[in-house]
């Protein structure tokens, strides 16, 4: 099973190599096109204008492609969720949110007393925050 896993990682690395070389090629080609278009004194010439527009479009596509690849890598690593614990005082209206720690559950008595009035506190809610405030879960 271990061998199988390594093999798959290799495939993915090859895949990214292809993507990055394609993006690199596109960037070089686009820059070359822009340079070709701009070196002409008369920039309003249709030919050089076309070259500049094509070059800018190429750069745009390259940016979009790299964003896609970064997204794909992030997708594999998995989005980082954050888990929050909401603590509430039972005497006053004091509430406080903090990072969730293993072993906590809703209804558990909080060890520290309320900083505002010294009353007992409990865990009111525990919830997950998806990364980047995305609308849908997945």
């Amino acid at each position: 099973m271990q061998a199988k896993k390594e093999e798959e990682v290799k495939i993915s690395i090859g895949w990214y190599f292809i993507w990055f070389s394609m993006i690199g090629f596109l960037v070089i080609f686009s820059v070359w096109m822009i340079w070709q278009g701009a070196k002409n004194e008369d920039v309003s010439n249709v030919d050089s204008l076309f070259k500049i527009v094509a070059g800018i479009t190429g750069l745009g596509i390259a940016v979009k492609m790299s964003l896609d690849v970064i997204k794909a890598i992030r997708g594999i690593k998995g989005p980082k969720w954050r888990y929050r614990t909401l603590v509430r005082c039972l005497n006053c209206k004091f509430q406080s949110e903090r990072e969730f720690k293993e072993g906590e559950y809703v209804g558990k008595k909080w060890d520290d007393p309320c900083p505002a009035c010294g009353g007992p506190m409990v865990i009111e809610l525990i919830y997950a925050k998806p990364p980047e405030e995305r609308r849908s879960l997945l």
Binding site: Y105, K108, P120, V122, A128, L137, L138
Partner: protein
């Protein structure tokens, strides 16, 4: 593959003389050949898609297995041994009872469900001997997610290999079309792995969460079958609130508990209110609250059947209050959108009780769902909320 020079020559010929019948022949021939190759190309494209998905599914599966081994190893056994035991157990399956002869099918199903649970518990006890009740529940949830991910991987691999062997477009098309939904499920199970590992409340836990909010810091009664609860007084009504025993991953057997309670009161119950998470339709907002009638309880159907039986026997009306969420949200850690609805649901339950029952009535409220990360009462004495 398609010969490129043929295409080029064809184009050249077309440019030279459009009326030339020969070039038209070549063009038609090209179209015919393309017709055959197009489907081949399509199949190759789909196979590539499925292959990449399979890659990802395999990663999810191995990741889940690693998490299970790591978490279980905290409870007194070496990783190697746990890994070995898991490899043997991962294909664990449940055969549903034969229903061609439907009499007693539910009883058989109940028996098999209990059987399954015992086996899972036994396995967890074997790989994590020093785990307490809470850890056992969470490990069992983790194991179920691992089994689910493994199963999804196997199914996709089956069609992938079958498609490769036969080059049959139908096999490949089937799985390719389902791929987005399959991956969505797999990602949801993956989130579930993380939630169970940490012992977080799940989206499905909204029922127990509402029950906990109602129970407050009252003294608990244990009803067996992993169901706990307490009796409250809401403006003269006696209200029994039930939930699965937390804070470990546990759904309990609310149907069985309800049946026993109602039988012990000789059917002297005026109303049952059930709270659960329900599948939303696409386009509906997560956390939307809806009211209806019937036994709001998911799962394989045994518990619902028991509740319906006993409610029908004594003519007790069944109210349902549900919080809408999608499949993924139900099995992953509870999000803020869902958690924040708990207080509103509590109010809705109270409204339902006050408007539909009268003083002196006996009402049972059941918070249905997984109790992971949700305690049984506010663990402080004295001041109530």
């Amino acid at each position: 593959m398609v010969d490129f020079s043929a295409v080029m020559s064809m184009l050249a010929m077309l440019q030279q003389s459009r009326d030339d019948w020969f070039s038209w022949m070549v063009f038609l021939l090209f179209m015919v050949i393309m017709n055959f190759y197009a489907s081949r190309l399509q199949v190759q494209f789909w196979m590539g898609q499925i292959g990449r998905a399979l890659d990802q599914l395999n990663r999810f599966r191995l990741e889940a297995e690693r998490e299970f081994v790591k978490t279980a190893s905290k409870y007194g056994k070496e990783k190697e041994k746990i890994k070995k035991a898991l490899d043997r157990f991962i294909g664990f399956f449940t055969i549903e009872p034969e229903i061609t002869d439907p009499a007693g099918a539910m009883v058989k199903l109940d028996h098999i469900v209990r059987n399954r649970e015992d086996r899972l518990n036994f396995f967890i006890k074997e790989v994590a001997p020093s785990s307490d009740k809470v850890a056992l529940g969470n490990l069992r949830d983790l194991l179920e997610s691992t089994i689910a991910l493994d199963f999804i991987f196997r199914i996709v691999r089956h069609y992938f290999v079958l498609g490769k062997k036969t080059q049959n477009m139908i096999y490949i098309a089937q799985i390719q079309m389902l791929l987005p939904e399959i991956m969505r499920m797999a990602r949801a199970w993956r989130m579930s792995v993380e939630a169970s590992k940490l012992g977080l409340p799940l989206g499905d836990g909204i029922g127990p969460l509402v029950a906990l909010k109602m129970i407050g810091n009252s003294e608990l009664i244990d009803f067996g079958e992993n169901v706990v609860g307490t009796e409250l007084n809401i403006e003269g009504r006696r209200v029994l609130v039930l939930k699965a025993k937390g804070p470990g991953g546990e759904v309990g057997k609310p149907g069985e508990a309800l049946k026993r309670i109602i039988e012990s009161r000789a059917g002297n119950v005026n109303r049952i209110v059930m709270i659960d998470a329900a599948l939303k339709l696409e386009g509906e907002r997560t956390g939307e609250i809806a009211e209806g009638v019937g036994a709001a309880i998911g799962g394989i159907g045994v518990e619902r059947w028991k509740i319906e039986e006993v409610a029908t026997k004594y003519g007790i009306p069944l109210d349902a209050i549900v919080v809408k969420e999608d499949y993924a949200e139900a099995i992953a850690a509870m999000t803020k959108e869902i958690a924040k609805k708990a207080n509103e649901v509590v109010n809705r339950v109270k409204e339902a009780i006050l408007s539909r029952t009268s003083e002196g009535d006996y009402v049972i409220v059941v918070g249905v769902g997984n109790s992971a990360g949700i305690g049984n009462r506010l663990e402080v004495s004295g001041v109530a909320s």
